[in-house]
Symmetry: none
DNA sequence: GTGGTCTAGACCACA
DNA sequence: GTGGTCTAGACCACG
């Protein structure tokens, strides 16, 4: 099995992921204006073109819309955002299960280990 | 020069991870001889130097030992392997929890979502 | 410096086209007074200078005439307007045929496709 | 009605259109390799990045696929290409009908004018 | 000021 | 050699 070593995700996609999470978990609210391309470029320490590409991708995904000469805004469509949120969570769970199965862990064990981990964690950080 | 963006893990480390998993989950048993550097290089489709670095790293981690003129063998130390196995699993769980928390998911929800996912999955793939 | 790519037609020419169509299809009748340069500029959301150039061009084309102190009027020459109308229609047809030929569509097919399109369209919008 | 003047389509989209037509009408056959990004850039008198963007868009549209280190190829899916062809033709027809209607031409007249135009054209260029 | 496009030139992983 | 990403710096149309 030659040839399947992951090269790092492109920067503009890493930013896409970051912003998507921010939007989906409500850190950026519906209708909010995102920082301008140039601002965001400075914040991220990246070239404006890279951010531009990020914003294009976000628009293509439909979770952001741009108004000419005004800026880029979180789309006002709660349903879409919910859907994206669900899909992201599912991907995380799926990844987790796959990796655990690869380690030879059964489903019952996964549940047990997770429960244990969360309970230990709760002494410092009760929830 | 942005620096907060992850570049891909070096290939030799990706192979380290892969072999570690193979050993820890018993695909490579205690005392087994690993393929020679050249063989492994062919199998992985990479340069022998890369495999050499991989084996060095595995030896440094203590889960493999080289016998001059004979080859590279999985170390005969069940306790160590157990420890490594536990540590790997913990890392996977930790990563999962962090990502879910980043999405604003509470611990209760994590358990519920995972349970649901595993149950859905079981129709085709009962375990 | 690539040069074979169309840059957008100047705005004043786009307005020329628009007004020409309005006149030729009778939305602006023979002898009608066009809005003043300032009015039209507001209507179109452009600079008055731009409209000025538009009116000059329309006058050069002969389909409009300016009377000092009174305004700009559609020329009272039905024949000329007919001619312009025919020429515009011909340009549209020509453009259509060229594009279809570029797609490798034969003349018979053009007729057939157009007929089909118009008939489908007629369920909602009979004419 | 201020504000609807067409700015020229971006160069990379003009190239997209051009290549799409070439593919769809069979000038570029199924499985054919497109010129490399750099070659095409020279041919078109354009920056390689612009062509790169064109190729990305073509891939996004699904009518082209790229093989790492090998090149960009026309996708081997006759059905998809047929569909695209139909859609392009429809767009041309639709544009034609809209413009003619804007000129106050009825459907019957469109058919008649087109027929007449095609027949006149046939003296030089019989088909 | 905003987003969008384009060029020039560079570096990367891949085959 | 191929496609893909990134930077730097420029210009545009828009509100």
């Amino acid at each position: 099995m030659p040839d399947e070593f992951q090269s790092s995700k492109p920067i503009y996609m890493q930013i896409v992921d970051k912003i998507t999470v921010d939007i989906v978990r409500g850190k950026q609210k519906i209708g909010d204006k995102l920082p301008s391309v140039r601002e965001m470029a400075v914040q991220m320490g990246v070239n404006p073109n890279t951010v531009q590409r990020t914003y294009s991708e976000l628009e293509r995904m439909g979770i952001v819309e741009t108004k000419r000469g005004q800026g880029t805004f979180v789309v006002e469509n709660e349903d879409l955002l919910s859907e994206v949120r669900g899909s992201l969570q599912n991907k995380i769970i799926q990844n987790f299960v796959e990796k655990m199965e690869e380690m030879g862990v059964t489903k019952q064990e996964m549940m047990a280990y997770l429960k244990q981990y969360l309970e230990e964690d709760s002494y410092d950080n009760p929830n």
